[in-house]
């Protein structure tokens, strides 16, 4: 049973399109995250939700919109895709926020390629 699952694993699309990545965790965690890993391997936090409430919203273009319908799901929708959006997007969850030394459990990542 996968603890944090993301779909799709690979996504290839044209500039200007809109796409979504879904994430689900079955760990019963309250906090979920989206991270972006660029071509230089830097992992940067984009968003974090705690109990469906947005608690971290980094400087991310407003083309990116997270949605948390419930504690177990955090989806990422991207409008008007640009070449620079190509990256690996990781979903993660934690039982407590990482500020209380909570361990992050990561999904396998979704590789987005914008042509």
């Amino acid at each position: 049973d996968t603890a944090v699952s993301q779909t799709p694993k690979y996504l290839v699309t044209q500039m200007g399109n809109d796409k979504s990545i879904k994430c689900e965790q079955n760990l019963g965690h309250d906090t979920m995250y989206w991270y972006k890993q660029d071509s230089k391997k830097f992992l940067k936090i984009m968003f974090s939700y705690n109990n469906k409430e947005l608690i971290i919203n980094e400087t991310v273009p407003n083309r990116f919109s997270p949605k948390s319908p419930d504690k177990a799901h955090l989806n990422l929708h991207i409008n008007s895709l640009e070449l620079g959006d190509s990256a690996v997007y990781f979903c993660a969850s934690s039982q407590v926020p990482t500020s209380r030394a909570g361990e992050l459990f990561f999904g396998e990542g979704s590789r987005l390629t914008v042509l």
Binding site: K41, F42, I56, S99, R100, A101, L104, F105, E108
Partner: protein, 115 residues
């Protein structure tokens, strides 16, 4: 702004060699420190973490890390590496007093262990 530096981007070792991966951070307050590992084809997982107490932390698979507050460092060590330790290693830090738990990652170090 808070940042994390991993000075070794690519390390190549022979089996049984000793390993030390450097990690320095730029925040002066209370911090929580983490090392994550990503084995080939797998998701990121926690190796070890420090949030208080003994600055020498033991993790899984024989890894350890030492928090040296005066040097703002949290270097990862292993006395004798194995081929199976080939992976990407990421250091991460966040504010211990933050309510949001924003975790800042380093760029990662690729470790290649030759049999």
């Amino acid at each position: 702004a808070q940042s994390v530096s991993q000075h070794n981007h690519h390390v190549i070792l022979s089996e049984a060699a000793s390993l030390e991966l450097g990690c320095n951070y730029s925040y002066g307050g209370t911090v929580n420190l983490f090392w994550y590992v990503q084995y080939p084809g797998q998701h990121l997982q926690l190796l070890l973490k420090y949030f208080s107490g003994d600055p020498l932390v033991k993790g899984i698979k024989g890894f350890e890390a030492e928090f040296i507050k005066s040097k703002f460092s949290f270097n990862l060590r292993k006395p004798s590496v194995q081929w199976s330790d080939t992976a990407e290693y990421f250091c991460a830090v966040n504010h211990g007093s933050s309510n949001t738990g924003k975790l800042i990652f380093g760029q990662g170090t690729t470790l290649q262990v030759k049999p």
